[in-house]
Amino acid sequence: MKDLLKKAVIFFVCFCLVYGALYFISLNSKYEQNDYITAIVEKHQRAEAMKGPKALVIAGSNIAFGIDSEIIEDSIGMPVTNLGLTGGLGAEFILNEAKALLKPNDIAILSLEYLVTLEGDYQNKYKAKEALPGTAAYFSKDLNAELIIANYNMRNRLIHFGDKSTSNKSPIYNKTYFNERGDLTSHHGKAPLDKLISTGIPNYNNFDVVDCIEAFSKYCKQNNIKLFYAYPSLADLGYAKYGSYIDRFVSKLSKINDIEFIGDFRSSVQPDSCFYDSIFHLTENEKVKRSRKIGAALKKMLQLN
């Protein structure tokens, strides 16, 4: 047994030395990660800088691609910040982020995608935390996931060690293309892709996201924040695939008392040709149309002249 333990210890020490050396080498790599999520910094700065009542649009990428905040701002006469980045942050993170930024008399326009999970993807949350450390308060820390992500980042730095191009930036999912209100503009004027991305497997028995929205609605009511829900735009393809789940989601959602719904669910399901690259991401033209509809509806619901 002693012999086995001795071998195990030697192996472990060798492993630590090799891993340490690789880690040290990787620190000299010029590789950079995709910076899309780091746009959270500017979005927070804008929302926090607003003095009077404001409106926040809250969800994942469907609002980043599909809301023109200026149009809504003109309709309701109130500054708007679009917080949308990705549904991969999870409902818990997105709604906690909104709670941190909303103040009494603000307006919250929620448009959470149907396939968003409660916890989301830890890598997205980790990136958000790296960019804006305060966001660590929006989710529970998972040391296991953080070690795996750190290991993964090291691997990527090593793989791309000698690359001349130092970044992994996408022409669409890129921080540079968010405007001052937080709307993404990288898809403007671009032809839609031939096939829409429609991955995502809903958990058919678990509607904890709806429970989370209900808790958020209570928070808004207690803090005198007006909460509206704008159904996320959804391509026919998405409804064909996930319709039975989405119908149940919408039915449960509609039972929450403290939310005012903008428009109806059916009209939020649109032909695939209205979408840019995924079943939730509208093209530029459709984004404008949707924003006008939401703006007009809000104006009416808020009884503004």
Binding site: L4, F15, D121, N144, I149, Y152, K195, I201
Partner: protein
């Protein structure tokens, strides 16, 4: 707590140190430690369902004692019936209730009645199908006198909840595991070395093979409507590899972890994709489940005794029940029924006397054409059935398979797809080729590393281990795939 997590690495090392270095000479204390560790392991997933595990354990523990102490046959039968009914009742409630309600509502709607029946919004307790089957096998064995009822509640609880097998098997038998729990364990360096090798190879299977295949499989199954035949074939072949590497990888880690603690668990996989026919496949795939169904369902039903018709009926019953055990969905039932269908030729075939047929362990390194053909045909029909297992519903699975055959009408498109796929997935194919070669050369041992590492000297062995560890570390993705069998 997943086996492929840092948490588990810390957990198993901590348990190992306390178990062997602090409690070495006290078996009862070791068993208490393992029981507490098992409840912590399960509690990491969901603390609420620990009470369900404890209740199920207590029920079978007391039922076992009652059966043994009962003086009349009817009293024995009563306790057997009560225990099985409650065990199956929990399984039915958590796993099958919504399925039955929705299927009934759907049946009513086809008959023109609209029914809104209440469904349950509950999550399925991880491992319920596994620990329920542990309990049932124990109770039945006590009833038939194959084993004495266990008097020590700690030992019995450990049998049900021993953490390496708690959430995804292997499904142990009381006759096999309880005697080990009641015996003093001694440190055995050979057993431990093999345990660590099993864990290492299990991690390779899960992280390097299964999770890489999962990325491609998820994409292909999500877009099956738009894809050509070759892509669809690739999808089901890769799913076959994924589910094997995922589940057998889990089993290897379970067996390896148990060996580190001095326990020998039942083997669950024996290179199933090298089988020459479906009956052989079922002797090599999820062995602990298929032998459970054989012993507790097939044989009591009459097995292969009696007429051919009875035999066919029994085969269909066990495969359909086995399919349904996997999940509350018609897809699993069709999957089971298909395997029953594939099994039928063997019933009508003339049986060879035992020992006359060569098993794969005795094949040469380069097998004959006939043997390769038999293995490929078996693999092909297994892949076909996996489409049902993987699809969200039967309609999608049917469409998937129809699209495979439809696509062959256009030979030019087939050629184009091959031209896209071969370079596009070249790296993955190379990895899979290497994986199956390693498995094939080591098919005469519980894990295929054995034949490689025992033939080289110490430094080379270390180098091989180091390469495998770094391959695992550099293959880990931030978004980890859960083990497929956790959902059952």
């Amino acid at each position: 707590m997943f086996f492929n997590s840092v948490n588990y690495a810390v957990f198993i090392v901590t348990v190992f140190i306390i178990y062997w270095f602090f409690l070495k000479k006290n078996r009862n204390a070791q068993n208490i430690l393992l029981l507490v560790a098992s409840y912590i392991f399960y509690g990491f997933w969901n603390v609420k369902f620990l009470s369900l595990l404890a209740f199920s354990t207590a029920l079978d523990y007391f039922s076992g004692l009652k059966i043994e102490n009962a003086t009349t046959k009817s009293a024995k039968k009563f306790w057997l019936f009560l225990s099985i009914t409650i065990n199956i009742g929990f399984l039915a409630l958590f796993k099958y209730y919504n399925f039955f309600v929705e299927s009934f509502a759907s049946l009513l709607s086809t008959a023109g009645f609209q029914a809104h029946l209440p469904t349950l919004n509950v999550i399925l307790p991880v491992g319920i199908s596994f620990y329920t089957f542990h309990g049932i096998s124990y109770i039945v064995d006590v009833y038939y006198g194959k084993i004495k009822a266990e008097k020590n509640p700690v030992d019995y609880s450990l049998f049900v909840s021993f953490f390496p097998l708690l959430v995804a098997g292997p499904i142990e038998r009381a006759t096999h595991l309880l005697p080990q729990i009641k015996k003093d364990r001694v440190i055995n360096p050979v057993m431990m070395t093999e345990g660590m090798r099993l864990i290492l190879w299990g991690m390779v299977k899960k992280v390097v093979i299964a999770d890489r295949c999962a990325d491609v499989v998820n994409q292909l199954f999500a877009q099956y409507k738009d894809l050509g035949s070759i892509y669809l074939i690739l999808g089901c072949v890769l799913f076959a590899v994924q589910i094997y590497a995922d589940f057998s990888g889990y089993s290897d880690i379970a067996l390896g972890s148990a060996r580190l603690l001095g326990f020998e668990l039942l083997r669950n996989f024996n290179y199933p994709y090298f089988s020459k026919n479906i009956p052989e496949f079922w002797k090599r795939w999820h062995i602990s489940l298929s032998s459970w169904f054989r012993d507790y369902l097939y044989i009591p039903l009459g097995g292969s005794r009696g007429s051919k018709l009875n035999n066919v009926r029994n085969v269909f019953i066990i495969f359909i029940v086995s399919g349904f055990w996997h999940g509350a969905n018609w897809t699993f039932i069709v999957w089971g029924a298909l395997h029953a269908l594939f099994y039928l030729p063997q019933i009508f075939k003339k049986k060879h006397p035992a020992g006359q047929i060569k098993t794969i362990e005795h094949y040469p390194l380069i097998p004959g054409f006939r043997q390769v053909l038999q293995m490929m045909l078996t693999f092909a029909i297994v892949c076909l059935a996996w489409v049902y297992f993987r699809s969200l519903n039967v309609h999608e699975a049917n469409e998937y398979i129809i699209n495979i055959f439809k696509g062959f009408r256009d030979p030019a498109a087939i050629v184009n797809q091959v031209k896209e796929i071969v370079p596009g997935y070249a790296f993955l194919f190379a990895v899979l080729g290497a994986f199956f070669f390693v498995e094939w050369q080591g098919r005469d041992h519980i894990h295929p590393l054995y034949n490689i590492v025992t033939r080289v000297n110490q430094p080379v062995r270390f180098l091989i281990y180091m390469i495998l560890v770094f391959t695992i570390l550099f293959s880990v993705q931030p978004k980890q795939e859960s083990f497929i069998y956790f959902q059952f």
